[in-house]
């Protein structure tokens, strides 16, 4: 039985093993390569996407759980890169290697959606589930703050 869901506003039908984690369905079956694999066990956040607007670790979520769900990946956040979080990320030159950043951005954008003006501590707490091996943490935190200011305008 195929699983139907919406990915980046497009309807898709996945006729694959329903236990397939969403991460691999996105990457291997839908050719959406922006979502990254880092650990496969919900520890690093590299694979973060939105499921019905909620930041979710796609590496441990079987597609059977996303039937009829709305999924947003980094490619769908704003393809033009104009989302305040994306703009802030570029302005403050956050990425080093860049590999973790799709997950960081989806987490940050999710955080600001719920709480557009988080305190410093809320930013630190909200972003600490995502590992950045290059250590871009300071700029990540500053960029969330900057994005929050951009949202205010």
């Amino acid at each position: 039985m195929a699983i139907n869901c919406t990915v980046n506003k497009k309807k898709v039908s996945l006729d694959i093993d329903p236990n397939t984690p969403l991460l691999w369905a996105l990457r291997d079956h839908l050719s959406l390569l922006g979502t990254k694999y880092g650990c496969g066990i919900a520890q690093c956040g590299a694979c973060t996407v939105w499921v019905n607007g909620e930041p979710t670790r796609s590496c441990v979520l079987p597609i059977s759980a996303v039937s009829n769900a709305q999924i947003t990946t980094i490619e769908g956040l704003d393809p033009a890169g104009k989302h305040p979080v994306q703009v802030a990320w570029d302005e403050l030159d956050v990425p080093q290697c860049g590999y973790c950043q799709a997950g960081q951005i989806m987490t940050a954008a999710g955080l600001l959606k719920k709480n557009p003006h988080p305190s410093d501590q809320e930013i630190v707490d909200g972003m600490s589930g995502n590992i950045c091996r290059c250590g871009t943490y300071h700029r990540i935190q500053e960029a969330v703050k900057l994005a929050s200011k951009k949202i205010k305008k």
Partner: protein, 694 residues
């Protein structure tokens, strides 16, 4: 300034048939094709087309160190164009065009600084000459600004409009460089050229490579020192999506059409291993350290004066042993590589820090001529030295040649963490003798490494300041594979040595900063033997960090000092610790770096902060254990990496001295373990002799 043939493309290639001559650095990116038709490739690093589009080529692999931005910044500066006018492209491996297409040792800028400036300045001169010819004026009366040549009576011509004429001129052999006070781009904050692609999730990395007809594979590797006896392939081969299960070199490869199907198959595959002797465990390594410390086979790396005699005369003796475990590089993007091997040619693609050796090794392995092996360099999700070892490239190539298909070999996190090429483990034993005046008269270090090579840096400070020195290294061979890890050797030697000197200062009754400065004064006035560092630059970073961090002037703040020289750069640090609920917490690290000219301030800050966070995280948490040849932990649930809520404030400063740039990807890491350990000691009176601290 002489221009070598090698830095320049045959003039005939300009404007005519760049593409048909088969320069394939363009072919990787279809969007660059239009450029090609009218592009003037002036040299290996830059092309300017007749419409004024300026393309700068960055030859070195980008692993997050920012080279893809820093290199073009230098070219653009001397070319005298606006940064917004240029477009940057990653060049593929091309040994004819580029001399040092690799990432490692923080050596790229040092190697290429002169070349890059020349690449820009030469073309700027050609543009001025072309304009001068057109206007019939003296070239010396022309100036440039933002990609435009300005004539003596107000004439203006863009580089684009001059490109074709300029390309026909002889290449000037003498060019002058800008005065650094006129720099417009160098030293400013330039954003990473890949940022836009990163934030929109473009496929940039090795794991994102997709080629027609490509299959996926994962490889099961044996425990260290073990050989594969048998494996159960038959049932696995029948599983959905599985195309093949093959074995080579003690490994088993599962080939399939999707990652999840391969993961499923892996779970039901069992391998039997054998070994000649007992496989290594933690206890083996501990025993080897003990033996290495007692061995009479250690190599003498350096000897000044008579250490034993001086120690015997010392009034006080300080002695300590430090130890650091094997650790994994754990770049966020695990190892992976694409290979499509045909009978007598191959296409390789993916994240390697050293593409040329990769090409050569595949050529040797598969007996395919080097010039028939094309290698596309992808962006890398971190490297930290791991991608200097091309084991993963060779595996992919060998597998592709066996299955005769284009294949992307993916390592899981568990594969990556258990697959070796670790930072070697090491134990260090130090002794220092102090005389009645509190001066260090004798200094001894024995390093025992497991597959570490020389685990010491025998000519580095404080050597050169002490009359009687003995440095020895003992290397124990292990089946556990090792390789360079960001700031090889110094990433743990720096910690051990800087922590030890803190102990020495305490016993000698000296302030740790003052003690370093006194030692350096000695080196300046009367150095002992050969040294590899410049003592005056050392002094400067120390003085600046003491001032910036208000060393010992902040009541109630516990500070720890360290300073280290590596990769030709100097970094001094002061860490601050406060005790929260009885536990030490690092709150701030101030760092002063002398890496010569800072090319891109934004990138430089990123490197310093990243290296300090890296050094701190691994000093606090990282350790691999071994049981019967198998490493653990194998994933981030138990192998802890530092997170955003644990990082201290980092205050990064640079010495502004205009000296030719040196390395920055690594040098801020080695002093970190030491400054933190020393600050923890200041706060708790507890010294850390082993990494990880917790």
């Amino acid at each position: 300034m002489k221009t070598s043939r090698r830095d320049f493309i045959q003039k005939t290639a300009l404007f005519t048939g760049v593409f048909t001559l088969g320069f394939d650095w363009f072919s990787a990116d279809a969007s660059a094709m239009e450029v090609v038709a009218s592009a003037g490739r002036f040299n290996a690093f830059l092309s300017i087309d007749s419409l004024g589009k300026i393309t700068l080529f960055s030859p070195n692999p980008e692993i997050g160190q920012g080279i893809k931005t820093a290199f073009p910044v230098v070219v653009a500066e001397e070319l005298d164009v606006d940064w917004s006018q240029v477009q940057v492209e990653q060049a593929n491996l091309d040994t004819k065009l580029f001399e040092r297409q690799l990432t490692g040792g923080s050596g790229a800028l040092k190697h290429s600084w002169e070349r890059l400036r020349k690449a820009g300045a030469t073309v700027r001169k050609m543009m001025m000459q072309a304009a001068a010819d057109q206007w019939k004026v003296d070239v010396n009366s022309c100036k440039t600004s933002k990609g435009v040549v300005l004539g003596p009576s107000g004439q203006k011509a863009t580089y684009g409009s001059l490109a074709e004429a300029a390309s026909k001129l002889p290449i000037p052999t003498e060019v002058s460089f800008k005065d650094r006070k006129d720099y417009k781009i160098i030293g400013t904050r330039v954003k990473g050229v890949d940022n836009k692609n990163v934030v929109t999730g473009k496929p940039l990395f090795g794991i994102d490579i997709r080629k027609p007809g490509m299959v996926f594979a994962q490889i099961i590797r044996p425990p260290f020192g073990a050989t594969l006896k048998s494996f159960s392939a038959e049932d696995v081969k029948k599983m959905p999506g599985i195309l093949d299960v093959v074995s080579f070199k003690n490994k088993v490869a599962i080939v399939g059409s999707s990652t999840y199907e391969i993961l499923q198959a892996r779970a039901s595959l069992t391998c039997d291993y054998g070994s000649d002797g007992p496989l290594e465990s933690n206890s083996t390594h501990a025993k080897w350290f003990d033996e290495g410390m007692k061995s009479d086979k250690a190599q003498v790396m350096r000897k000044d004066g008579d250490f034993a005699a001086a120690l015997a005369k010392a009034v006080k003796v300080v002695e300590a042993t430090y130890e650091c475990p094997f650790i994994s590089h754990s770049p966020m993007e695990p190892m992976n590589f694409f290979a499509d091997v045909k009978k007598d040619s191959a296409l390789l693609a993916g994240p390697t820090q050293v593409p040329q050796p990769a090409q050569k090794a595949v050529s040797d392995l598969l007996k395919i001529p080097v010039d028939k092996i094309q290698l596309e360099i992808s962006k890398m999700g971190g490297g930290f030295g791991r991608r200097l070892n091309n084991d993963f490239v060779l595996e992919a190539a060998e597998l592709s040649s066996i299955i005769q298909k284009p294949v992307l070999v993916m390592w899981t996190r568990e594969d990556d963490m258990s697959g070796g090429i670790y930072r070697p483990a090491a134990r260090y034993h130090f002794k220092a003798g102090i005389d009645a005046n509190g001066e260090i008269t004798a200094f001894y270090l024995r390093g025992v490494g497991l597959n570490a090579g020389n685990s010491t840096r025998q000519d580095n400070f404080p050597v050169g300041a002490i009359e009687n020195v003995l440095i020895e290294s003992f290397d124990q061979k292990s089946a556990v594979t090792t390789g360079p890890w960001r700031a090889p050797i110094t990433n743990f030697l720096g910690f051990a040595e800087q922590a030890f000197l803190d102990e020495v200062a305490e016993v000698a009754g000296k302030d740790p900063v003052q003690m370093r400065l006194q030692l350096l004064a000695k080196v300046i006035s009367n150095p002992v033997g050969k040294i590899t560092y410049e003592p005056a630059r050392f002094e400067e970073v120390i003085k600046q960090v003491a001032e910036k961090a208000q060393w010992k002037k902040k009541p109630g703040v516990h500070q720890g000092f360290s300073v280290y020289y590596s990769h030709l750069s100097y970094v001094a640090q002061i860490a601050e610790v406060k005790v929260e609920n009885g536990k030490p917490k690092v709150t701030k690290v101030t760092a002063v770096t002398d890496c010569g000219e800072v090319i891109n301030l934004s990138g430089a800050e990123n490197q310093v902060k990243g290296a300090i966070i890296d050094g701190m995280g691994h000093a606090l948490y990282a350790k691999l254990n071994f049981q019967a040849g198998v490493a653990s932990p194998q994933n981030f649930n138990a192998y802890r990496l530092i997170r955003g809520n644990e990082v201290p404030v980092i205050d990064a400063h640079f010495v502004n001295n205009g000296i030719a740039p040196t390395g920055l990807g690594e040098p801020a890491l080695p002093p970190t373990g030491g400054s933190i350990a020393n600050a923890i000691y200041a706060a708790t009176k507890k010294r850390h002799y082993k990494q990880p601290f917790s």
